[in-house]
Amino acid sequence: MKHLFSGAIAAFVMANAAQAADVMRMAVTTSFNNSGLADVLLPEIAKDLNLDVQLLVVGTGQAIKLGEAGDVDAILVHSRSAEEAFVEGGYGSHRTEIMYNDFVFIGPKDDPAGIQDAEAATAALAAISNAQASFVSRGDDSGTHKKELSLWAEAGLDVAGFGGWYNAVGAGMGAALNTASGMPAYIMSDRASWLNFGNKGELALLYAGDPVLFNQYAYLPVNSEMHDHVKNDLALKLEGWLTSDRAKALINNYKINGETLFVFNAKEAE
C-alpha cells in the first residue's frame, strides 16, 4: 500500500516536471484577477515569452505568505507597507511598481448617508459612520482591507468601536460585493472589480476621485537566496515584460464599458 501511494506521488511529481519548460507561479490579488486584465495579459505573455504564468488568486495577506514560504516565484499585490516589509525581511529581492487603479465607494442607489457630494474620501466615510448606514468591509487582511482601515483611521474613526452596521465579512472582493448587494450596504471596492461585477443589484458607484484612493500595484520576485528552487530567471523575464512598452499599451488600453481601469506607471528596468 505504501509503495503504491508513494509511487503515485512520484508519478505526479515527474508528470509535473515534464510539463512545458517554462512555467512559473505568481500570486496575485483577487482584485487584479477579477478586473479581467489577467485574461488579456497572460495569453500575450505566453506568446511573447513562451512562458506559462500560473496564477494563484488570493488576498494580499495570503499572497505575501505564499511568497515568504517560497511556494510562488513572484507576487503582484497592492499594499505598500506590507510589500516593503516583504523586501526588508529578505523574502523578495526588490519591488517594482507596475501600474495603478483606484478605489471607489459603492452604495445603495438612494445613498442614505449622502456620500455622493462628499469633499473627500474621509468625509464620505465619516458620513456613513454618522448615518450608521450598513457598510461591508473585506475584513480579510487584503490590500483593499488595509487601505480601508487606513482611511477610517485618517477620518479619525475607530473601527473597533463600530456597531452592528459595520460588517467585516472576511471574504474576497467578489464575495464582499455579493454581500453588499444583498443587504444593500456601502462598500469600498477597486474600480475594476466593480465594473466587472455581475450582480450589481441595488448598488451604484457613489464616490470616486480623491487622490488618496489611488491604488499602486507592485511586482515582487521572490528572493532566490532565500529559496533556491524559485524560478528567479523566469520572474525577472516576466518583470522585463511587465515594464515594457508592450505591457504599457495593453494595460493602458484595457477598458470596460469605455472606462480605463489601470494606468501604467512602471519605469523601464535598468
Partner: protein, 234 residues
C-alpha cells in the same frame, strides 16, 4: 429564480456544445476524486475489516476516532496538507503543492475515515453472522478478511460512493492545496466558488448543475457495473 432558470439553460448549452473548458475542469474533478477514491478504498476497506475481526487494546479508541474524523472540516485538512507540502514545510522538496497530486492527498485524508467507518459498520454485522462458521473452519486472519470483504461487497460499494460524494463536492481543502489555477488545478467546485465571487451566478449555477449531473452519472455507472438493484441479486 431568473438565475436558476438561466443557470439550467446555460448548463444545457455548455454540455450540448461540448465546451472545451467545461470538459477540462469536469474531467479534472473526476480524475482527482476517482484517484483519491481508489487510493482511499485500498487503505479503508482492509482497515475496516481488520478492525472488525481483530481484537486489540485500542480498538474502541480507533473506532471512535475514525467516527469522529468523519466530520473533519476539509478546510482544516487543506491547511494541514498545505503546511506540510509547502516549500518551507517538511515535504516541500517534493514540489507537489498546487498540483492535482496535492489535491488527491487532501481528499484521501478527508474520505478515508468516512469510508472506513461505514465499511466497518457493515463488515461487523456480517462478522457476527460468520463468526462461528469461520472460526470452526479454522481459517487464517487474512482469509477471514478476504471472505468478509467479498461477501459485503455491496455494502462496501455504498461506503465508496459516500466517499465519492464527499470528495467530488469538496471545495475547502482543494482550494487551499490546489490553488484553483486555471488549466492546472481548477475543478468544478473551485470554479463555482470563483464565478460566485465574480457575481456570475448563472454560470456558477450552470457549473453546479453539471457537477450534480456528473455525480448522478458516476453513481448510476457504478451501480450498473456492479449490477446492483436487480431482482434476485441483492
Amino acid at each position: 429564480m431568473v438565475d436558476i432558470w438561466s443557470g439550467i439553460t446555460q448548463a444545457f448549452w455548455l454540455v450540448l456544445t461540448l465546451d472545451a473548458e467545461l470538459f477540462e475542469i469536469a474531467g479534472r474533478s473526476l480524475y482527482v476524486t476517482l484517484t483519491a477514491l481508489a487510493i482511499a478504498c485500498l487503505i479503508s476497506l482492509p482497515l475496516a475489516a481488520l478492525i472488525a475481526v481483530k481484537r486489540f487494546r485500542a480498538r474502541r479508541l480507533v473506532i471512535a476516532v475514525l467516527n469522529a474524523l468523519m466530520g473533519l472540516p476539509p478546510v482544516v485538512v487543506g491547511l494541514i496538507v498545505y503546511v506540510i507540502l509547502s516549500r518551507s514545510g517538511p515535504l516541500g522538496v517534493l514540489g507537489v503543492l498546487f498540483t492535482p497530486a496535492a489535491m488527491i492527498i487532501a481528499q484521501v485524508i478527508i474520505i478515508v475515515p468516512l469510508i472506513t467507518s461505514i465499511a466497518h459498520q457493515s463488515i461487523r454485522d456480517l462478522w457476527q453472522e460468520y463468526h462461528d462458521l469461520l472460526i470452526s473452519l479454522n481459517v487464517t486472519q487474512s482469509q477471514k478478511i478476504r471472505t468478509l470483504l467479498w461477501d459485503s461487497r455491496r455494502a462496501l460499494l455504498t461506503a465508496a460512493l459516500a466517499g465519492f460524494g464527499r470528495g467530488i463536492g469538496e471545495v475547502g481543502a482543494i482550494m487551499i492545496v490546489g490553488g484553483n489555477i486555471d488549466h492546472a488545478t481548477r475543478v468544478l467546485t473551485t470554479a463555482i466558488a470563483l464565478e460566485t465571487g465574480k457575481g456570475e451566478f448563472a454560470l456558477a449555477l450552470a457549473l453546479g448543475f453539471v457537477l450534480i449531473g456528473l455525480a448522478v452519472a458516476v453513481n448510476l455507472a457504478i451501480h450498473w457495473l456492479g449490477q446492483t438493484e436487480r431482482e434476485g441479486r441483492w
